[in-house]
Amino acid sequence: MTAPLLYALAGAILCGIGLFGLLWLSHLLRKLVAFNIMGSGVFLVLVGLPQHQGGQDPVPQALVLTGIVVAIAATALAVVLIRRYYHLSGLTSLTGEPASREGAPE
């Protein structure tokens, strides 16, 4: 058991936690935080797994850096959308009124 492998396994746990939050929580900001947790988990796996045997590997480090920027961009966009959505509808989740069931004739 090396440190990078530990990171990767921790990443696996974070992935599970994030997935749970993303699927189960309804508040949009919490969902977003859950997305970031899951993202961190994925990045840990990405950076930990290859460095377990080969020692230092700059490629996954660079990939994770790129991944983080993309995740930040997505998070920022989501926050802007959530804020405006809240401003217009007063809702913080996607399940509240005005809800329309799938397939129901409007």
């Binding site: 045997q53 961009a73 920022a76």
Partner: protein, 232 residues
């Protein structure tokens, strides 16, 4: 009751997901990877124009990723400012009149600017680089903003939009310039690699800071709405 059961089922699903994933990681970790990329990388470091391998990967070997990544950031910025429908992005509510914060700013802002500059410079030979520097720069902006420093350049006008895409544009121009020389897209001329990367890094820092700042301040909304298609 049903909700509890559902929660339990969901927990079980997520735990087993983690378990399977961890198992798979464990199995994979036990076998050596057939391709030794780090070695290949170090063999080519001399041709990359920078000393730090991560920067080399980001801005030379896999520069296309970075180009598109900055594109993603610009998109987020565009989508963000498109939400703000007022002429100014100033939101008075966001300003605090905390005098301590105002006072501290005078010390913090120059310090943070220096830090950003250092991070940018450090990227050539140790961890650091455009993104880290840009993030610090954006944080400086946020701080100034919260402290009540007026920032008129953050109107969704031409200046802001120019700032958003400055880094991206320079990167893109460098990328296409190599083609005119008959080389592949994004190939730097060997003798100019280092200065080009430095220029790209610097403008990227500015743009990244600008995008992040714009996303932070583009929060205000007004009530003007676009009627949905055919909703009348």
């Amino acid at each position: 009751m049903i909700r509890t059961l559902k929660t339990l089922a969901m927990v079980a699903a997520c735990v087993s997901f983690s378990g399977i994933l961890a198992l798979s990681i464990w199995t994979i970790a036990g076998q050596p990877a057939p391709v030794n990329l780090p070695q290949l990388l170090s063999e080519n470091m001399a041709r990359s124009g920078v000393e730090h391998p991560v920067t080399a990967v980001l801005l030379n070997f896999r520069s296309y990723d970075t180009l598109l990544e900055i594109g993603v950031l610009v998109i987020a910025g565009i989508a963000g400012i498109s939400m703000a429908k007022t002429a100014s992005l100033e939101d008075p509510e966001l300003r605090t009149s905390d005098s301590l914060l105002y006072g501290l700013q005078r010390w913090f802002v120059p310090l943070m600017l220096m830090l950003a500059g250092y991070l940018l410079w450090a990227g050539a030979h140790r961890p650091g680089g455009a993104f880290q520097a840009g993030a610090v720069l954006a944080a400086t902006g946020v701080l100034m903003r919260l402290g009540g420093v007026p920032m008129d350049f953050l109107r969704p006008g031409l200046l802001l939009r120019l700032g958003l895409v400055l880094g991206f544009t320079v990167f893109l121009l460098v990328a296409v310039a190599s083609v005119i020389g008959g080389d592949a897209f994004l190939a730097y001329p060997p003798e100019l690699t280092k200065p080009l990367i430095l220029i790209i890094e610097s403008v990227l820092t500015l743009s990244i800071a600008m995008v992040l700042l714009a996303l932070f301040v583009s929060a205000p909304v007004n009530d003007a709405e676009d009627p949905e298609e055919g909703s009348s």
